[in-house]
């Protein structure tokens, strides 16, 4: 965190001054470790064992916050009798189909909801795509998780004794995640591990809370979603959710990544985490809503119809009416995985014509840079918008493949357009940070020369396309022509970001179809076309006609929660699910941790924050069993967006790789999985291609050619792929060169010399880096043998115009294997070889890689077996 988020880290240092204990768990010793009370080095890719070990410790030692766990989580809820866990099936959950590498999640459901199972969760694979990329995976669900059919009425055993209750399932599941297993898999000593367990549990309860903070590298694994689930289980067991000082904080790689999922740049969701409709399943809005929510579940997702209708009204205005399903048919539909990596493979297969790159640098920043660059060479056109002529804009004349002679500039047909972009100080708009807080930034200076904002570009592009289509009578052009697109300001060609924010907030629709008063809350949204709003969770950001995100009242002039600084969704709540900060009777768990509570006299919830609960819902309120929607939320159901009102220790629906986290080794690993016969995630998305080979793992033939683990990361001095730092002399001089970090022991083993060069090789590429020999990287003893790790910052690239520094790109080393839920690449744990000296000349690098591939006997099948047959399966 100090390394990548030094400004945010000031608050950690402030907490430390006040006595907080800082524990840092990371394969390398970073600037964070330097000021932490304890640094725990573990093997990259082994985190679920570490976290699972903590869960086991909490359960075995009975350290969980029992009152919280019983009332607020699904610990007491019973799971179906036919659910079988990984401990019984040697690393598989029940429902696995080895043919397709997918699960039928029916048996993971809660007991008593069998009759709803037919409604189904997982979408059928569509037929029009190649076998290994067509799984729609997490595209199925919005943030609602999945539909919780029947969850308004679950079967619970609040004594937590029933062997089918979630807590007992958890106990059995994590029983094998012992301190000895942690030592064996992670390379962490039992003493270090237990001291973390003791610190975390001692610092949780009525009077204390523990926070977990992760950076997005945690998600970049073939089991990335389950990493975060593991942390969620710990926090729920310890009562650290919905309470001040608790929670799980995701530190993002860019300034507004939270914003770009709220109002998504992702292919599979619409604004406000509504799922993207699909070609196969959603002919109309009724069919769509049936897969978004259910009339037999609790909570606010049952109002998804109002959110969807309001979204459509904001986009298509007067044209969207009840007669035409509010133009639902205008929405683009997905037919499978259209994620970034699938798109790249489709480019390579000549199925993609054009590509927009805005504020990204995939030639350097995305996994498998070679596939990225070669993919782009198959495009007809490419638009790059950035501050600088980054490598993704110039690969066609100076990229590694052009340098090596593999590509010839004159043979590349891609037409590349570069449009200079304005920076955040050169335009109005909002950032949404990880606390879900929107902060408005005012334009301070005009952008230089031709640089323009993204908003300017998109608005004018829309205007131009619409002008061209103006005379069209083709139905397919209606969605563009009927779009509300009036963001202009008189006397200027710059569109108004303020108008966009107003549209996002939403308004009452006047009888004549024009915008009426602005909405102040999403609870005002209707499904009858009388309201419009571009993102339901953002409704209220323009409450009372005031841009609430532009508020900057100093902290000294308001309460410690600081509700008048910016605006947080939903409804300016600073902590989600904060009903959990009070006990089941509505009293603060302790005075020290008082946050929101039930005011008996006033008959309402009150406190320091906006209560995240129906304001007048008494703690002892119990709905008629089976009552759906917000009315079904009991007075002790803090998790009001969950279909049963409870925090999910066990996810009965919504995930594709299991209801609980299980440890699987990364696609490339130095060891066999000691926990199960199943080596790697049996549902991971493998891309079997000649240009995407994997190194052999563990004891497989050829694994000895790639004996080391490597991981990639960022340095304080640079920003991601370098577009915002390698062009700046003052930053570049601070970290001028690509380097690799190795331990003195590995340096001795391989003859690496501090300051000299080394070459790092995988089945994808070979790159050269200067060597930094450091005690900050330690060899670990894993499964009885020494495992060396190589650390690689990934900020450098070759090419680009005007970069102050350049170098080989660490991401060229990484192959594409994806998490099934969200298609994120496994970029943080893989294997490599490292040798002293520089790599061969550009035109000989492929030869070196090919030698490794043939020596190790690698084929497209290597490492890509989904189901490993164990003794018991």
């Amino acid at each position: 965190m100090a390394e990548c988020h030094p400004v945010g880290f000031q608050w950690v240092m402030e907490a430390k001054r006040k006595g907080a204990r800082i524990i840092h768990i990371d394969p390398r010793f970073t600037r964070t470790s330097a000021v932490a009370d304890q640094h725990v080095a573990l093997r990259a890719g082994s985190d679920i064992v570490f976290l699972g070990g903590i869960i086991r410790y909490i359960l075995e030692q009975e350290k969980y916050f029992r009152e919280y766990v019983v009332a607020y989580t699904n610990a007491a809820t019973l799971v179906r009798d036919d659910f079988r866990d990984t401990d019984e099936l040697d690393g598989l959950f029940s429902g696995y189909d080895p043919e397709t590498g997918t699960y039928d999640p029916a048996s993971w459901a809660y007991k008593g909801v069998e009759e709803y199972a037919a409604a189904g969760n997982a979408r059928k694979p569509s037929a029009d795509q190649s076998a290994h990329t067509d799984r729609a995976a997490g595209d199925t669900h919005g943030a609602a998780g999945a539909v919780g059919h029947g969850h308004s009425q679950t079967t619970r055993d609040e004594t937590l004794q029933d062997p089918r209750c979630v807590l007992q399932v958890l106990k059995r599941h994590f029983a094998r995640y012992t301190p000895e297993m942690v030592e064996q898999v992670c390379g962490v000593s039992p003493q270090d591990f237990l001291s973390v367990c003791e610190a975390v549990t001692a610092n949780s309860g009525r009077d204390l809370t523990t926070a977990w903070v992760y950076s997005v590298g945690w998600t970049q694994h073939a089991v990335g979603v389950q990493y975060i689930r593991s942390a969620a289980i710990i926090q729920l067991l310890l009562g650290n959710m919905g309470r001040p000082g608790g929670g799980i904080m995701a530190l993002r790689g860019h300034a507004s990544i939270q914003g770009s999922t709220d109002i998504p740049t992702l292919f599979n969701i619409l604004p406000g985490y509504l799922p993207m409709p699909s070609v196969d399943d959603h002919p109309d809005m009724t069919a769509y809503l049936k897969t978004v929510t259910s009339d037999t579940q609790k909570g606010y997702w049952t109002h998804a119809g109002a959110y969807t209708a309001s979204l459509l009204k904001s986009w298509w205005g007067k044209t969207a009416t009840s007669d035409n399903d509010y133009c639902f048919s205008y929405l683009p539909k997905i037919s499978g995985d259209h994620g970034t990596y699938n798109t790249v493979t489709r480019m390579l297969d000549d199925q993609v014509e054009g590509y927009f790159i805005m504020g990204e640098n995939p030639a350097v920043g995305s996994a498998h840079g070679r596939m990225q660059r070669l993919g782009m060479s198959h495009l007809k056109w490419l638009v790059v918008r950035d501050f600088q002529l980054i490598e993704s804009a110039t690969w066609w004349k100076d990229g590694p493949e052009v340098r090596s002679g593999e590509l010839k500039t004159e043979d590349i047909d891609t037409e590349v357009f570069f449009l200079p972009a304005a920076s955040h100080v050169e335009k109005d708009g909002t950032f949404t940070q990880t606390q879900r807080m929107l902060q408005w930034h005012h334009k301070a200076v005009d952008p230089p020369q031709d640089a323009r904002s993204e908003l300017h570009f998109m608005w004018h592009l829309g205007n131009k396309i619409r002008a061209r289509l103006a005379e069209s009578t083709d139905d397919r052009d209606r969605p563009l022509l009927d779009l509300t697109w009036d963001y202009g300001q008189d006397g200027t060609d710059e569109p108004s970001a303020d108008k966009v924010l107003r549209e996002i907030n939403g308004w009452q629709v006047k009888p004549d179809g024009t915008p009426g008063p602005l909405l102040s809350s999403y609870t005002q949204m209707k499904d009858d076309g009388s309201t419009a709003g571009g993102c339901w969770i953002y409704t209220g950001v323009y409450a009372d006609g005031v841009n609430q995100s532009a508020r900057r009242k100093p902290g000294s002039q308001q309460s410690w929660v600081a509700p008048e600084w910016g605006w947080a969704w939903p409804s300016n709540r600073r902590i989600l699910y904060n009903r959990a900060s009070a006990d089941p009777q509505g009293r603060p768990w302790s005075e020290r941790k008082a946050y929101v509570w039930w005011d008996e006299e006033a008959g309402s919830w009150t406190g320091h924050d906006v209560p995240d609960f129906p304001a007048d819902r008494a703690p002892d309120f119990r709905p008629e069993p089976g009552t759906a929607g917000p009315e079904g939320i009991a007075g002790d159901d803090p998790f009001i967006m969950q279909s049963d009102g409870k925090g999910w220790l066990f996810a009965p629906t919504g995930l594709l790789d299991g209801p609980l986290p299980a440890h699987y080794e990364p696609q490339e690993s130095p060891i066999r999985n000691p926990l199960y016969s199943q080596q790697s995630n049996p549902t991971r998305q493998v891309l079997k291609r000649k240009d995407n080979l994997s190194n052999p793992s563990a004891d497989a033939p050829g694994a000895q050619d790639f004996p080391y683990v490597f991981t990639t990361y960022r340095l304080t001095e640079h920003h991601t792929a370098g577009g915002m730092s390698r062009w700046l002399p003052y930053l570049s001089e601070l970290q001028p060169q690509f380097f690799c970090e190795v331990s003195p022991a590995l340096a001795a083993e391989r003859g690496l010399v501090n300051g000299d060069w080394a070459t790092i090789v995988t089945a994808r590429s070979a790159v050269e880096a200067r060597v930094l020999v450091t005690d900050r990287i330690r060899p670990l003893t894993v499964n009885g043998r020494t495992v060396h790790q190589v650390g690689l910052p990934y900020h450098w690239g070759q090419g680009g115009k005007g970069a102050v520094v350049e170098g080989d790109s660490a991401n060229d080393l990484i192959g594409l294997t994806l998490d099934p839920n969200v298609h994120i690449q496994e970029a943080k744990a893989a294997t490599c070889d490292i040798r002293p000296g520089r790599r061969p000349a550009d035109h000989q690098v492929r030869g070196m890689v090919e030698d490794y591939i043939s020596r190790a006997g690698i084929t497209v099948e290597t490492g890509n077996t989904l189901h490993e047959k164990g003794d018991q399966s």
């Binding site: 100090a2 030094p6 600037r31 009370d37 304080t716 930053l731 001089e733």
Partner: protein, 305 residues
């Protein structure tokens, strides 16, 4: 307090003849909260328009690619990777009447440390650079800081060997480039232009963890000493102040440091002495010698007549 003294405690601004000086200003750099982000280095360069200094790739010295203070580096963050056990406890600095130290908790002690510290010109009470400057380019400001006037400096370079910390340096001319102020002596001004307007120095403003503090030297000294006591109390036995003693060889410094180990570990001299300290004595001796020589010569002339 003697006037125009070359060592010992004094108020340098008053000593330099400022009437109604606003009080001595300086830095306290608390390295115990430094996270090595180098924001100070960048902010300093941005504000003072210092040329970039892209070297020959990485230095191989941990994450430090700047290496030392110099003409183009007025703030420098040192990165010290320390695998050996921490140094023995610091000698008791100033007795604040705090409770006695408890034994350090062996479990809480990291066996490996990565020390970071942002170094800067010390703005000495007795600044040899200033004392030896023949042009008056280096002067003592009303804040008690030491500043080079680059339009007066003639580049003689006397100040460079005079500095006991190796801070001040003449700017080399980059080949094929129009270097600003080439040949002119360069160092931290403690952002004279900013503090004159009531702003924080650029480095202190940019520091996210308040490792770099700016303020009245007396207050900072006290704050630092309290923090040392606090850290000692927590078992950080190596914590100590550096530059806070008005009786040291430079009369104490305007830029003080809270270090976690011996100064040498961070590349700082353990016992700096103003190089002009012995000047009066030297002049006296030289004078005596000259007088003796003159007398001898006279005698010889007399004797020869």
């Amino acid at each position: 307090m003697s006037s125009h003294s070359l060592f010992g405690p004094l108020d340098p601004a008053v000593d330099a003849g400022w009437e109604q000086a606003p009080g001595r200003k300086g830095f306290l750099t608390d390295t115990s909260v430094c996270i090595g982000c180098k924001a100070c280095e960048v902010a300093c360069k941005e504000w003072n328009a210092i040329p970039s200094d892209l070297g020959d790739g990485i230095t191989g010295e941990s994450y430090d690619n700047t290496s030392a203070l110099g003409a183009n580096t007025w703030r420098h963050v040192a990165f010290v990777e320390q695998s050996t056990p921490p140094a023995p406890a610091a000698p008791p600095a100033v007795d604040l009447g705090m409770p006695t130290l408890r034994a350090p908790d062996a479990d809480a002690k990291p066996e490996f440390r990565w020390l970071m510290s942002s170094d800067v010109c010390k703005h000495c009470t007795h600044a040899a650079c200033l004392d030896v400057c023949p042009t008056g380019s280096l002067f003592r400001t009303e804040f008690g800081t030491v500043v080079v006037q680059d339009d007066i400096c003639n580049g003689c370079g006397y100040c460079v060997p005079a500095c006991p910390y190796g801070v001040i340096e003449r700017r080399a001319e980059a080949p094929g480039d129009k270097t600003k102020n080439a040949g002119i002596a360069q160092k931290c001004t403690l952002c004279y232009d900013r503090i004159s307007d009531g702003d924080l120095p650029a480095c202190a403003k940019a520091c996210p963890t308040e490792s770099i503090m700016f303020g009245d030297v007396d207050e900072l000294r006290e704050r630092g000493q309290q923090r040392v006591a606090e850290l000692q109390e927590q078992g950080v036995t190596g914590a100590r102040m550096y530059g806070d003693d008005p009786h040291d060889g430079v009369g104490g410094t305007g830029a003080m440091f809270l270090l976690l180990d011996e100064p040498e570990v961070y590349g700082m001299p353990p016992d700096p002495v103003v190089t002009t300290r012995d000047l009066p004595r030297m002049w006296k001796r030289a004078g005596l010698a000259a007088a003796g020589l003159a007398a001898g010569a006279a005698l010889s002339l007399l004797g020869g007549s």
